[in-house]
Symmetry: C2
Subunit: 349 residues, 2 copies
């Protein structure tokens, strides 16, 4: 699908140009978009074959596959953009199985009229995130929809990874007595996007925590291969993630509010908007559930990692036939941390 | 993520209900949509774990990964819909490496207000296509965008498969002297969608050829493991697919128009709309390029398969530094089959 340069009479105009329907048509214009935007940014041996798929060797064993569509609005926000978010999000879903992410696929749904300059900025951000993570984008697809039938760009990424022998992590494995650990502060991503969306400005802007967590996970799995659960609390936040695990494992949870880190600007903006940080999306945090005796060594390696410096033990798993998640508040009371009802923040990832 | 039934006070209303923003919010409403729509239809051991990823064992060897976003409009057309199309399309991309497709991931971008009845019909069609193909949908994602920011539903599917030892199929392997085979008639899918879109009706309606081709490919690989190239001529049609291969392999092609099957209603509609069937999308056809001595046995197994009954040898690969694809017309002349310029049919897949 790489036509020789002579096929294109002009280079794409990355200053004034925009996406046209022909860029999704399967002909010359699409080949040019693929070559000048995607191949240039993601450049690797798999994409250079220009087949409709990527081929790679894997060892025998357990593989993981995860997929996520990204529709965040606005596309650019403090600390990131839809591009790096789409790389981090899927790497994290793969990593939450304790796996080493190997390869990514990326599929773009572009709206006619979307500026090529914005597309290039997003694709460059993806390329940088993929390179930093060491996980190449090896295959992809591009579709274009008419003006008014999309919203700039939607990106669906899919990842595959390999699970180390002896690791068996699943949301159904939490057991009474287990400790619950959180890798850092809550709500930074969701509030960074909301502040951008609502044009709120602060002395110290809130910055998304979007990051690839597979390096942190690898250090955790190395020290505690008997880890029971890992989950990145994205949409729905920590509250929803814990309720899901409680439901799937048939257990209850007891949290200590005082132990849960929330940065002050996030707490203030949440209060202003009437939101609970427990339900706000994170894109660079994980929660881990492990046997009590692993909690301290696990906490130590988490805090030693740049993405886990504020890690904390935030509660424990208890026997509870109702699967309730309860929290001891900073005032010494108790409250139920229920499932999120309704839509708190649409299009946050 | 499967809350017990008590979490949902009412079942979803599949008659009058529609997609709401809360169905993408990561809370209770999303859990209900996943349980009552996706889990019910796709039901399998991987989805039942309700982790954000799927885990499965693979043998050591060469894996294939392919991804495709589907944005076809209208969503329902004679012979299929976006659901089965999204399953067939990605299975076919995996199969074009000569691989056995193993698992699929599916990610949905839904527009607020989309009827739940239509969603269920589409998901049921996907489930049936996946079951018939023997390729389970093992993981997925759902996002919802506001009314007017999408177009009903977009579906991105990603597939992984395993390449049999000794098979090495790529668009860069066509060699002068190779034969070019086509598995059946051109243009059925594209013209079925166009007829539906333009509200054209015929005595004998044109029906999309959407189908999973991995079974056909398996029989072909078994009889001719030395196959050089396989490609499903979707967007851009046969003309674009052959130009891509010619470019990547650094060869030319010579086609015989009289040998290329096009059904009469498709030919008539193409003429009416001013389109060339060589550039119209197919979703259940493949072209194969193989050493000349394999052509006859390959043709025989293709014709013996239900999806290759009209298979034909349509031309041959030649030495050509320009990478031109030329066709001997039915009138005995010659014409260049150039790259498709511009957008012929937007949103055809």
């Amino acid at each position: 699908m790489i036509p020789s340069r002579k096929l294109f009479t002009r280079k794409l105009d990355f200053i004034h140009g925009s996406v046209e329907l022909s860029h999704g048509g399967g002909g010359r214009a699409m080949a040019q978009l693929i070559e000048e935007v995607f191949l240039t940014a993601f450049d690797n041996e798999w994409l250079r074959t220009q087949d409709d798929c990527a081929q790679f060797n894997v060892p025998a064993g357990r593989l993981v596959m995860a997929t996520d569509s990204h529709v965040v609005s606005p596309l650019f926000f403090p600390g990131g953009d839809i591009g790096c978010l789409s790389v981090h999000g899927t790497i994290n879903d793969v990593a939450m199985a304790g796996a080493q992410p190997l390869y990514l696929a990326a599929s773009f749904i572009l709206e006619e009229g979307f500026p090529l300059a914005d597309l290039q900025r997003i694709v460059d951000s993806m390329a940088q995130a993929a390179r930093q993570a060491g996980v190449p984008i090896v295959t992809g697809d591009t579709k274009v929809v008419e003006r008014g039938k999309g919203d700039g760009v939607f990106i669906t990424t899919t990842g595959v990874g390999v699970v180390p022998p002896g690791v068996n992590i699943s949301a159904s494995r939490a057991q009474p007595g287990d400790a619950i650990l959180l890798s850092g502060s809550l709500g930074d991503h969701g509030m960074a996007v909301m502040a951008q969306r609502e044009n709120l400005s602060f002395d110290a802007p809130i910055v998304s925590d979007t990051a690839a967590l597979h390096g942190l996970v690898a250090t955790m799995v190395a020290v505690a291969p008997e880890l029971h659960c890992l989950r990145d609390p994205t949409r729905g936040g920590l509250g929803s993630a814990l309720n899901e695990i409680a439901q799937q494992s048939g257990v209850g949870m007891r949290l200590h509010e005082a132990a849960i880190p929330v940065h002050e600007p996030v707490r203030a903006l949440c209060e202003f908007l009437g939101l609970d940080p427990l339900y706000v999306a994170n894109e660079g945090k994980l929660l881990a559930i492990c046997p009590a005796e692993c909690a301290d060594p696990l906490l130590a390696v988490m805090r030693a990692h740049s993405l886990g410096q504020e890690a904390a033990i935030i509660g424990s798993v208890v026997t509870d036939a109702h699967g309730f998640v309860e929290m001891e508040t900073v005032f010494g009371g108790r409250r139920l941390v229920d499932w999120l009802s309704g839509e708190q923040l649409p299009r946050i990832c």
